[in-house]
């Protein structure tokens, strides 16, 4: 069972390769990818259980021992994120069966989907900084294909910008890795951390930390580097958008979390101040965007930026409470963003438009849709029994403990404005006089609803059953608070 942690990467990889051979047989593609994604969820659950009992799992690829070869490390944080990724992938896949359209399915939608999951799971699992870059590229390459698949005008136009931004970010990533290698002479993250603590965090290491912040901030859409996100995420079809919104930016946030708690935790005065300022600005600017637009897709897209800000604020505070809160909120946000995007997708496919001014009175005909949306809106804003609340509470508590009152207050206030931005959709779209829309009878609302309902149930259980989930989350946060656990597990000393 030593290779167990490799399975969440291998299963989608093999599935993707197999699916290429079935590119013209859509039914076979659906079955194969559906079954493999369910297997992936099961494997991830088993992995989480294994780590709960046996501690951090590591795998030295080809038996090259830890600092010399590539190491894959699965601690609780990465295993939980892999599990969430698998769940989101499974449900999004379920949604795409009925909505993505045969044209796209025939042109390698499912293989690309699986390769994207390979990249995301790999980025969560790897313990080697250059390998992180490689998995980023796997993920990005698949995302380039997914964002342009279908070839409509807006997709072509926006994907050029997406591609260009990511090429520059990747180049910067390699530059930063080069600098880091020249300073510490190793690529294994645990070993880097050890070396840095031996020599102390000098000025050059702080510069490298800042460069990493730029790189991961570009991928994770932290202020001021989120400029590309609203345009690029607007273009692709809804399942792809859900996948991107739930997973891709979160990989950037995870990388910030990992590097700042594992590598650059010695001299946090400067770095954490910058992180906190950027986080607060991300929240504010995200809120401005979310409140300003009357386009439902745009509102949800700007909510991604707010969530990234909240999580990064939790990381910047660096108390045990706030880190636990960040982990909690990160997982919550992956689930709830996928739900919201899928629900918005159903609204758009019913009404044929994403402009709020042309939608009204949906609750009469689609009460189920309306109430699911209402629940997910409450969860996003962080109303008590639901999952957004606990994460935010812990982050705010950590913020007050660390005496960053302004930041904590803004995180707290942001909940209200998030609620306002989402309720705008609810009030305008679901209330009012019912209208009839062209072609709404053709939309298979009932089958489309399955995926968001599964997600919202998981999200509610995650919030209500926080008592049961908490040991897992705190085990994940423990590694962040005490990086020695991670280092010892990898280097086996």
């Amino acid at each position: 069972m030593i290779n167990f942690l490799l399975l969440p990467i291998l299963i989608p990889l093999i599935t993707g390769v197999i699916l290429i051979f079935f590119s013209k047989n859509i039914i076979a593609q659906r079955w194969i990818s559906g079954i493999s994604s369910i297997i992936n969820v099961i494997v991830s659950v088993l992995l989480v259980q294994k780590i709960r009992q046996g501690g951090i799992q590591t795998l030295d690829v080809s038996s090259w021992e830890a600092p010399f070869g590539i190491t894959l490390v699965s601690d609780m944080l990465s295993a939980l994120l892999v599990l969430t990724t698998s769940i989101v992938a499974c449900t999004t896949l379920l949604y795409s069966f009925r909505s993505i359209g045969e044209e796209r399915e025939r042109f390698y939608y499912y293989p690309c989907f699986n390769f994207l999951i390979v990249g995301v799971n790999g980025a969560f699992t790897t313990g080697d900084i250059f390998n992180l870059f490689v998995f980023f590229e796997v993920m990005l390459m698949a995302s380039y294909t997914l964002i342009v698949l279908g070839g409509t005008k807006i997709q072509l136009r926006e994907s050029i910008k997406y591609l260009l931004v990511n090429i520059i970010a990747s180049a910067l990533f390699v530059i930063t890795v080069a600098y880091l290698y020249s300073v510490v002479g190793t690529l294994n993250m645990a070993h880097i951390s050890e070396r840095i603590s031996e020599v102390g965090q000098s000025g050059i290491v702080t510069v490298i930390a800042m460069l990493f912040l730029v790189v991961f901030g570009l991928k994770g859409a932290v202020f001021p580097l989120y400029f590309w996100l609203p345009g690029s995420y607007y273009a692709p079809p809804i399942p792809v958008m859900a996948l991107f919104g739930a997973l891709l930016t979160k990989v950037g946030v995870y990388s910030i979390m990992r590097t700042y708690t594992l590598l650059f935790y010695h001299d946090t005065g400067y770095t954490s101040k910058i992180l906190a300022i950027l986080a607060i600005f991300s929240i504010i600017f995200g809120l401005i965007g979310a409140l300003a637009f009357s386009d439902i897709k745009k509102i949800i897209i700007y909510n991604i930026i707010i969530a990234v800000g909240v999580i990064v604020f939790g990381i910047s505070v660096m108390t045990p409470d706030s880190l636990t809160g960040s982990v909690f909120y990160l997982i919550h946000d992956m689930l709830i963003k996928a739900t919201l995007f899928l629900l918005v997708g159903i609204i758009i496919s019913i009404t044929g438009t994403s402009n709020l001014k042309e939608i009204s009175g949906l609750i009469k005909k689609y009460p189920g849709l309306a109430w699911t949306f209402f629940l997910s809106a409450l969860s996003l804003a962080g109303i008590p029994p639901l999952s957004g609340f606990i994460g935010k509470l812990l982050i705010v508590k950590g913020g007050f403990e660390a005496e960053n009152y302004l930041g904590a207050a803004i995180v707290l206030l942001s909940s209200l404005l998030i609620l306002l931005s989402i309720m705008k959709i609810f009030i305008n779209g679901f209330w009012g006089t019912p209208r009839s829309y062209e072609g709404e009878e053709k939309v298979p609302v009932k089958t489309l609803m399955i995926a968001p309902i599964i997600l919202i149930i998981i999200s509610i259980l995650y919030g209500v059953g926080a008592e049961a989930v908490y040991p897992y989350i705190s085990q994940a946060a423990e590694t962040l608070v005490k990086p020695e656990i991670y280092i010892d597990a990898v280097l086996k000393e």
Binding site: I160, A178, L187
Partner: protein, 113 residues
Amino acid sequence: MEIIMIFVIGILFTCATYLMLSKSLLRIIVGTGLLSHGVHMLLLTMGGLKKGAAPLLGEKATSYTDPIPQALILTAIVISFGVTAFFLVLAYRAYQELGTDNMEKLRGMDGND
């Protein structure tokens, strides 16, 4: 040797930045190509440009070269290869579909936001 390399890298980055800021899509792609070349050379230089034998045990050489930067560059080159190829195809398709390669005209302001 390192000094010369640094200048070369700097010139490559300058040219890449200049090209990427231009309006034409093809110039931007050439710019990204130059950028990745600069990055690869930087990676090699930061690993240390040493003279030594191949890093094989049992060769009894006095000094060995560090193989890791070369392995990293190999990976990075392959990735930039793929991305550049994809970008070229994308640019061609976008030119066919949108009828322009001018970035000024590719702004997303016509009625969708």
